[in-house]
Amino acid sequence: MTTTRVMNEQGPLNKQDMAALVARDIPQGAFVNLGIGQPTLVADHLPADSGVVLHTENGMLNMGPAAKEGEVDPDLTNAGKIPVTEPAGASYFHHADSFAMMRGGHLDICVMGAFQVSATGDLANWHTGAPDAIPAVGGAMDLAIGAKKVFVMMTLFTKTGAPKLVPECTYPLTGLRCVDRIYTDLAVFDITPQGLRVTQTFGTTLDELAGRLDVPLLAAEA
């Protein structure tokens, strides 16, 4: 793991900072799926020589950056249906092959957003549980159980201040014990066999976090 150097380590990270932090933890040459939304920002922070290969579940490996004006091809989009581009070394495959690749454990990392993550790595990111919500899961459950490592990117607290890192998810689950690491605006957490370990903090301390979260926290290893 390379040491991260983030612009405002002093304070809460913004989305771009979090994306940069994730990008720096992705090893050279890894095969990675970036979930729809905030995780797609990670691509912008990967160095040009990272050799990281992006997978999109709608059937492409080595997906290129978003298409600029004049590059848009309606036959070439990412999973968020945004036009993307085709670098050298890309390949296309159908949906069953694409999800076989995912479910079969061939992707090194997937990065997803979350509503909640439990202390044991349960993930809730597809359904608010609101009675009138129309359920829609997309590829979230497949991603959650498929990649070798699942990284979550989220703010640590909701806008109303409720922790999103919780003893047990109260929102409907996406996957059980599937999350490996959680990047938040205030800290990075590793879910380990020993428990939830705080590996970095930004403008806060382990003690402060322990006071605001209802989960036991371990200190970073020396």
Binding site: N58, G59, L76, V137
Partner: protein
């Protein structure tokens, strides 16, 4: 049997029966068989079960089919979108059934239908609402859910090019569900941009062999 080349989308969708399960390809607009959906609306079959990744966008295509009340049930991974108001309204007012299936299970269950697999143990969705009540089993220390095939009476798919034997190639991420759906339905109808002479497609590059394709129609020119 021999693939039928149709002159018009209306000919291609002829005979689709009320109550059919219709697999509809596409992911967003990529690979969406727009002409065939429009023809299906004109054709009039009703009480349909539609299997597709989404449940219609805006007021055209699948959304228009839904708006006409022809669809009893949607099986899809992601019905809720910014512009899925037609589905949203039907669902909230109890006029349409919904089965939400994780996207990979949707693909794999159709693949199973096409490959003669009776059921399969799948790790996706274990412990979630979407697998509640389904049979589970622990295999080599991991928990799996038993999933059953999704078979179509009809598949409507969009491809890039066909030869006269019905061999299909797709283009970029418009490939998506087409090749899988082509294996999973009794009658497979493909709309393509171009029909070429047999022999004009390199055999190494065929994605859907003609055996899976019953009818082909060239898509209408767009203004």
């Amino acid at each position: 049997m021999t693939t039928l080349l149709c002159d018009h989308a209306d000919e291609a969708v002829a005979g689709i029966e009320d109550g059919s399960t219709v697999l509809v390809g596409g992911f967003g607009m990529a690979g969406m068989p727009v002409d065939l959906i429009d023809a299906l609306i004109r054709q009039g079959a009703k009480d349909l079960t539609v299997v597709s990744n989404n449940a219609g966008n805006g007021d055209t295509g699948l959304a228009a089919l839904l708006a006409k009340g022809r669809v009893r049930k949607v099986i899809c991974s992601f019905p809720r979108q910014a512009d899925s108001w037609v589905f949203d309204d039907l669902y909230r007012t109890g006029r349409i059934e919904l089965e939400v299936v994780p996207q990979g299970n949707l693909a794999e269950r159709m693949r199973a239908a096409g490959a003669g697999i009776g059921a399969f143990f799948c790790p996706t969705g274990v412990g979630t609402l979407l697998t509640e009540g389904k049979e589970t089993r622990e295999i080599d220390g991991r928990t799996y859910v038993l999933e059953y095939p999704i078979k179509g009476d009809v598949a409507l798919i969009g491809a890039h090019r066909a030869d006269r034997m019905g061999n299909l190639v797709y283009r970029k991420t418009a490939r998506n569900f087409g090749p899988v759906m082509a294996t999973a339905a009794t009658t497979v109808i493909a709309q393509v941009r171009e029909i070429v002479e047999t022999g004009a497609i390199d055999p190494e590059t065929v994605v859907t062999p003609g055996i899976y394709v019953d009818r082909v129609v060239k898509e209408a020119d767009r203004a």
